[in-house]
Symmetry: D3
Subunit: 339 residues, 6 copies
C-alpha cells in the first residue's frame, strides 16, 4: 500500500474567490463562506490541475492508495488579520474534511491552524481539538513562521512559547507536520522559505529540551528536512564540543518526508536519518507536477524513484511507503482501501 | 598541490580587544588600531587554536599547501555603525595581508568589505580596489545580509543593487565568495544563517539576469551551496515551467566549496554540480576542528574524505584540490610553494 | 437615454482566484493572468449576481442604456506591494476593456490606476495614456487614499503631489472619478471610508488652487459627494470669513453622481449643487442591489426615484440621465445604442 | 423655552496662556492653574467674540434661554501627554462649572474627559463621577478619537473597550455627546474630522451590541449626525441583507443635534431620524457666527430657520427646542429661567 | 554701562493665546497673528512679571542699561509642525522687534529661528537675513536640539550639517547664542536640558573643525557654558593624548554669559575661560527672579555679585558688563543710552 | 589612609576577547567564560596601562592605600541583548571579586548590574544579593541609562520604577554609585554622557520622594556631581518658589566623588556640598592618567591637589580621603592595610 504523507488540497475556485473577498471587505460583508458542499468539492478533485489530469487521477497514475491532505501552505496568509486568517483556515479545513468524507478510502486530513504572529498557540487549542475530535483530522500543519518573512518573528520551535501546543498534540496523539506558509520578503520565494524554515525548525527543536519534556511528541519535517541532512555535519561538530547527544542521533527524534524529487537526495536522506524515520510524500499534484522533457516523466513520480533504489530492502520500502505513516498518524485504513 | 579555498584568519587577541573597545567608545578614543605587526601576527599563527595545534600546524597535519584566508565571518559585525565596521574590517584585512606577506607560500588573502545595511556597494569600491591593487587580495567575501538577521534587509544578490560591485569584480577579475556575517535573530544561530543565506543567494542569482549581464563574473558559494544541491529538484521543476534554462544547468554558473564534513554530502555535491565547479575548502581551523570520539579523527580532515571517494578520477581530484582554485582566484603559486 | 455613470465590473471568478494567487506567491509563479477572454467575460455578465439576475439583465430591468464600468473599488488592494497592485489592476482593466469591446452599445470603461502609497502619480502616467489611447477608456478612478486606512497617508487631492496626474488628465481630456479602495482600519468599514474620503477629497480640492491652476480639470465625486452637500454650510461659514469665493460656489467646480438610494438625499443634492452638476449613477449591481421587503423594490432603482421628483423639469432629468455624462466623459454613443 | 444643546465655553485668555505654558514646561513649573475665578469668567462672557457681541449677548440675540456648554473641542489636545491633558481638561471644566454657578439660569455644563490614546476609559471614571456629583455636570463629551488623526487609533465606539464608560454613564444617568477633538493630519481640517468621526461613531455603535447591552444608554451625535442621515440608505441596504433590524430603525437609538446651518439639511435630518430624536443646537458663538453678506444674517440663527419650516407642528418644535433636551439631560430648569 | 546679554521677551498674553490656537487648528483658521502692536507690547513691558515689578522696572532695579532680548526658549515648540513653528517664531520675533523700536535705548533683539528636526538650516537663511537686514536683529538663538528631547536627533553643532548657517552668520557678522528650546522627555526638565545641551554643543564645536573653517564665527554659550567650565579637565586629558590644541585653549574660541546666580560659580567661570570671554547676562526677569528669604535679595542680582568679586579689576568688570557685548554684537549704543 | 572610591577594573585581555565573541556568536558557542583565574588577573594588574606603569604601581605612585573597583563603565554594553549583558557583567564582576581576593589590603569591589532597557530592576535583585553576600561586594554601580543614548529611555532615578532596587540596597546597607555606561549617540561621547546623566540623576532624585521614602538610602554621584554643583543656583531658584526644602539643602542627601582633575572645580565642590559629603576618587588609571606637558605631572594626581587646598583642615581632608568612604561603604579595613 502506498500512502503519500504530504499532499495539499485541490479546492474549488470558490475558496480563493472567498479569500479575495474577505481580504477586501475585512468582515464588512459578514463571514460568509460555507463552501464545503459535495458538488464543488467533487468537481475540484475531478478537474485537470497543475498541467496534468485531475487530482484523483494523478494519484492513480502513480499508484498512490491514500494521501494525507492539508491546506495549500503558500495560500495560508497567516500574516493577515487574525479574524480573516481564522475564517479562511476554517473554510479550507472544512473542504478537506469534506473530501475525506466523500473519499474515505483515499484521503485523510491534516488541518491548518489559524496561528498568527504575536499570538500564543494557546488561542487555537480549542479549534484544534474540534478538528481532531469532530472532523477526524489525523495531524496538523506546524507553521514555524506565521509572520511570513515580515518583521513579526515568532520564537523558534524549541522555545517554550510552543509548549501549550505540544501538550495538546501529545494528549490528542497527533503529529505536527512542519510547513511554513507564505513569504513576503523580496529576497526569496516562498518555496525556498519552506526549506529554510524547515532547517530553522529542526535546529531549534534539536537544540532544545522539547523531546526531553515531551518524549512522545511526533514531528514530521517537510521536504526531506530542509538543508539539514545535507549540512548535518557542521552541527555534529558543535554537538561533539558539548555534553549532550550527537546531533546525528538527535536527528532521529524527528520524521522526514520524501518530497525531494531527486534520487541522489533521497538516498542521502535515507542514509542520514534512517529509513525508519522517512515517510513517503510527493506533494502531487504540486510543485513537482511537471514533465521533464528529457525523460518525459513527471518530476513527482517519487514512488518509482524510490522503488529503483537497489540498496533498499522490501521491508525498507514498506516502512517508507506505508508502515511509518500508519504509525505516525495512527491511520485506520479501511479494508477496501488497502486492497 | 592542496589549496584550501575557505579558511578564516587566526588573528591576534588584540584584534578582538580592539573590537570591544571601538564598540564601546564609538570613536571617542580615536580610531587607534594598527594591529598588524609581525610579532603578534606570527604568534597568533603559532598558538594552539580550536582545541588543536596552531593554525599553521593544523594545515600541515592535513597536508594543505596553501589556504585562502578571509575575516572570521561571525565576527564581522556588519550591522553595527558603518564607521566602526569600516575600522574593524580594515584592521582585519591588514592582519590578513600581513599573514600573506609573512607566509607567501602558505596564504592568499580574501578581503572582507565594510558593507553595511542601507548602503550601496558603490561606497566600498575604492577600498576594494586598494585591497586588490595595493594589498594583493585575490578575492572578496560577498555578504548577502549585512543586516545580520535584523529588520534591515538587503536586496537579493540578483538585484541591480549589487551591479556596481559586480562591475568592479569583473574589472579586477576577482571572485566573490558568498558568506554572510553574524545573525542577531533568536530563532537561529549564525551557523545556520550562513547556510540559509547561501541558498537565498544562489536562488536570487540564478533567477536573475546577473550572469547574462556579467558573463565573466565569478562567484564561489560557501559550504557546498547551502541547501541547494540537496533541494535543487524543486527549483528544477519551476524552471521547466518557464522558458529559460534548466535550473540544474544554471547552477553550473557558480562555484561551490567543499566545506561539508560528510562524505555522502560531498558525493551529492560533486554529482549535482560537477567536479569542475567544486573547490576544496575546509574552514580549518574552524567549526569542523573537533575530533569525533568514534573515529578519533578531526571532522575537517576533508582532504582524506575526498581522496577516499573511489569514483573520482585523479584528474577530478586535481581539479578539486588545485586547478579550480588556481583558475578562479588567478593564483600565482611560487615554485617553492608548489613543491 | 439613460447613462449610469457609476458601475463596477462584474468579473469572472478567475480574476479573484488570480488575486488570491498573486497575493500568495508574490510573483514566484510569474505574472500569469491574461484572463480577459471572450467566454469568461461573457459568462460573468450573464450569471446571476448580488442576489438578482445577471449584470446585463439588471441594467435592462431599470432601463439603463449605457453604463460606465470601473474596477470594484473595495477589491483594488492598493496598499499591497506595487508589483502585485499593478498586475491585478491591469488584469481588471483588461477585463473591462474586453466587456466594452464585446458590448459596445452598453459599456464604457473607467480605468483603475495602480497608485500605491508613497509613490508619485507620475509613475502611472504612461500606463494611463495606454489605457486611454489604446484601450479606449473614457475616465479614471481617482483614489485619494491608496494606503487603505493604514498609517501610509497620501497628501490631500489639493496638494501639488497630484499635479502630474491632473496635467495628464487635462491633456487627455478625461475626468477623474473620486473613489477610494479598501479600508484596513478596524474602526470603520470600507463603505463608510468611501464617504469620508469623498468629503476629504472635496474639501481638499476646493480649499486649494487646483481649479485655478487647471481650469479645465474634470472631477466627478462618488456617492453624492460624501457628507459635503449635507454639511456644506459649516464650510460656507469659513469661506465667508476669508477673501475667496463662497464655498457653495466653489462646490460647483465639481460633478457629483447620484449613488444615494434615498429620495430626500437626492433632492438635497440637486438643490445644493444644481442639476447641471449631477450625473446619474447607481452602482447597480452593487451595494444597493437588495430588495426592500416593505416595498418589494430594489434600493438601486434610482432612476424611478429621480423620475418621481416632481420639481425637476424634463430638461433637468435629461441633464442628469444623459447630457452631463456625455459632456463630462466625451461619450460617443453609437446610433444603435441611443435608439 | 429655547435650549441650545451644543455650545462651547468662552473661556478667559488665561486658559490658553496656561495651555501654552504647560505644553512648554510639561510640569516643570508645577501644575499651577486655578483659573476659574469670578472676575475672569464673567469678563470672558461679556467680551465680544467671533466677530460679534459677547457670548451672553449672542444668546439673547437669537432668544436662547439656556445653553449646554462644553470645552472647545479643537482645543482639547487629547493626543498630548496624559498629565497635561488632564490638567488642561480640569481647568476647562472648572471654568465651565464656574460659569454655570454664576449664571444658573443660562448655562448647564457638559464636561470634557481627559481621555488619551491607548488608555482605557476606566481611568477617567472617578473624575467623571466627581464632575457629575460634585460639580453638577449634566453630560459629557464623548470623543471617539483622542489620538487626533495620528497613528494612535482608538477602537470604535461599538467596541467593548468603551463599556466601562457606558456602565458609568448609565449608572449616573447622563448622556454622552459625540464630539472629537483636534486633527493633526495634513489631509483634512479638524472641522471635517468632526463630521467624519461622527459618521464613524454612529456606524460603529449601530453595528454593535451596545444598545442591546445598555438599553438605557443615551448618546447625542453632533452636527446632525455627520454624513449618516444623508448617506443612510447605503447602510440600509447592508442591513436588509442581514438578520437584524433595519439601519434606519437603529438610527433612532441615537439623538442628533441641529448644528447644520442650512434649512435643506435640517429638513432632511428631521425627516430621516424623526423630530423626537433631534435637539436644538447652534454652537453659537462658534463656527457659524458669521454674517452672510447676501442676507445680512448670522449663519447660526438656526432657531429662526427651524421656526420657518412650515411642516413642523408646534409640538414638533417644542420637542426640538426644549422637551428632548430636558429629557435627555434631565435638566432641572429654574422657574426664573423658564420664564 | 551695564549690558545684559541674555534676556527673554516679556510678550503680551495674546502671543500665547495665539500659540494655543495654532497648535489646535493647525492652520485651518489661516495664519492670523499680527500681534506686534504698540499698545499690547507696551502694556506687557509695564505689567508685573515673575513675582516682581514690570520687566522695565526690573531692569532699572539692578541698573541694567541695555538688554538683548530673544524669544522665551522653553516656549519655542520647535518639535511641532514646521508651519506652526514658523508662524509662532515670526510673531515672537516681530514682538521683539517692536519692543526694540519702542525702546531703542533699552533693548536690542536676538531672533529665534524656525529650525525644526530633520530640516537643514539652509531653509531658514532667507528669513534670518530678513531679521537682520530689515528688522535690525543683532544676533540669533542657536538651538542645538530642535527635536526637544524626542527621538528626532539633530547632528551636533560641530557637524557640517550646520555649515550653511555658519557661513551666513559670518557673512552677516552676527553671533549665535546657544540655547535649546523645550524638552519632552520625562527624565529631565527643560531647565536642565538647557545645561546639558550647552555642554553637548561646546564639546561638539571644540572637537570639530568649525573654528578652523570659520575663524571669525562668533558663538556665545548660555548659562556659563553648561557643565564644561566645571568639568573641563576630563576633556583636557583627552586633548593631551591627541595632537591638537589643549581643550582649555580651545575653550577660548567661545564666549560665555554669566547666567549662573552663584558667586563661586561665577568666579570659577572667570578663572577658567578668562574675563575677556565673558558677557554679563541675567535672564532677568526669568528663572532667577525670586527672592532668597535668607538674604531678602533676588537671585538674579548678578550685577552686584560680580561687582563684589574683589580680584576682578575695573577693566575686567567693564569688559564683562559692557565691552565684550559691544564687540560681539556690534552694538551701536545711542549717546542717550550710554549716559 | 587614602581610599580611592572611584576606580575601574584593569581586566585581562581575555575579558574583551570574550566580549567580542559573545557579541558575535550570541550564545551559539555556549556561555563560556570563567575567565577569573589567578594568573591572568595578577598579570593584568602588573602590566603597564594607560600610558603609565601598572595599575598596582599607579596606585602606589600617588600613595593610594585602598581602591574601590568597579567595571569599566563604557564597556558595559547595557543596551545589548540581556543574555549577553548578563554574561559579560558576571565575568567582569568575577574578575573584580578575584582581584579583591588576591589583594585584600588594596581592593574592594563595587559590582555592575546587568540592567537593560525596559527591564525592571527587580530582575537583578537575586544576582545583587549574591554579589554582596557571596562575593563580598560593598557597593554597586547605579546606571541611570542602560539604553546608552538610544531611543530606549529608562525612567529617571526619582521614579518608582527604581524602588525595588532601593529597597534591596537599604536592606543590604550598600551604596549605589551613579555611573552610566556607553553612549551610542553621534552627538556626544560617552565621557560627556556620564556628566549629563549625573546631572539628570541628581535632579530626578532631589525632585522626588526617594529620600523621604528611603531615608537611609546611600547614593554616591560620580565626577563631582556632573553639572549640578556649578549650576545649582538655577535649581535653588525653583525650589524657593515651591514649598519644600531648598535645593542646596537637598543636595546634601547625596555624596559626591572628587573625580574632577582641576583644583578650582574641587574647591567649588567642597564649598557647595560640604566636605562631609565628598569622597576621594580618581578613576586612576583612567581618563586622567595622562601627563600634562606643562607640569610634567599626571592629571589624576588628585590627592596632591586636595592636599594643597589650604583652607581645608586636616579633619576635612581625613573625611575626604578616608572617613566618608569607610562610613558610606562600611569598609572593614585590615590592620595591615591601614598601616
Amino acid at each position: 500500500m502506498i500512502i503519500d504523507s504530504h499532499g495539499h488540497v485541490t479546492a474549488p475556485d470558490s475558496l480563493y474567490v472567498y479569500k479575495a473577498q474577505i481580504l477586501a471587505h475585512r468582515g464588512a460583508h459578514g463571514r460568509g463562506g460555507n463552501l464545503a458542499n459535495d458538488d464543488d468539492v467533487k468537481k475540484a478533485l475531478h478537474s485537470p490541475v497543475f498541467g496534468g489530469s485531475s487530482h484523483l487521477d494523478q494519484l492513480k497514475e502513480v499508484g498512490t492508495d491514500m494521501q494525507l491532505i492539508s491546506p495549500r501552505p503558500y495560500q495560508m496568509m497567516t500574516s493577515e488579520h487574525p479574524r480573516l486568517v481564522s475564517w479562511f483556515m476554517e473554510e479550507t479545513n472544512n473542504i478537506i474534511a469534506k473530501q475525506v468524507q466523500l473519499y474515505p478510502n483515499t484521503f485523510r486530513g491534516v488541518c491548518g491552524l489559524p496561528l498568527t504572529p504575536d499570538v500564543s498557540p494557546k488561542a487555537v487549542l480549542p479549534y484544534l481539538e474540534k478538528c481532531v475530535k469532530e472532523q477526524g483530522f489525523v495531524g496538523l500543519l506546524l507553521n514555524p513562521d506565521p509572520g511570513e518573512c515580515t518583521a513579526h518573528q515568532t520564537p523558534g520551535l524549541g522555545d517554550r512559547f510552543w509548549y501549550p501546543l505540544y501538550e495538546k498534540m501529545v494528549e490528542l496523539d497527533i503529529p505536527g507536520h512542519i510547513h511554513s506558509s507564505g513569504c513576503k520578503s523580496e529576497r526569496l520565494p516562498y518555496s525556498l522559505h519552506f526549506i529554510n524554515e524547515e532547517s530553522v525548525g529542526v535546529l531549534s527543536l534539536l537544540n532544545s529540551d522539547v523531546f526531553t519534556d515531551f518524549p512522545t511528541l511526533k514531528i514530521l519535517v517537510s521536504h526531506g528536512g530542509g538543508a539539514i541532512p545535507y549540512q548535518y555535519a557542521r552541527f555534529e561538530a558543535s554537538s561533539l564540543r558539548g555534553k549532550g547527544a550527537r546531533f546525528s542521533e538527535k536527528m532521529r527524534s524527528l520524521y522526514y518526508d520524501t518530497v525531494l524529487y531527486s534520487k541522489d537526495s533521497l538516498e542521502l536522506l535515507f542514509k542520514t536519518v534512517g529509513v525508519d524515520r522517512c515517510l513517503f510524500g510527493t506533494e502531487r499534484p504540486g510543485v513537482g507536477t511537471v514533465k521533464d522533457p528529457r525523460t518525459g516523466r513527471w518530476l513527482d513520480e517519487t514512488r518509482f524513484t524510490i522503488e529503483a533504489i537497489d540498496w533498499l530492502t522490501d521491508a525498507d520500502k514498506k516502512m517508507i511507503f506505508e508502515d511509518n505513516a500508519k504509525k505516525l498518524f495512527n491511520l485506520k485504513v479501511p479494508a477496501t482501501a488497502a486492497a
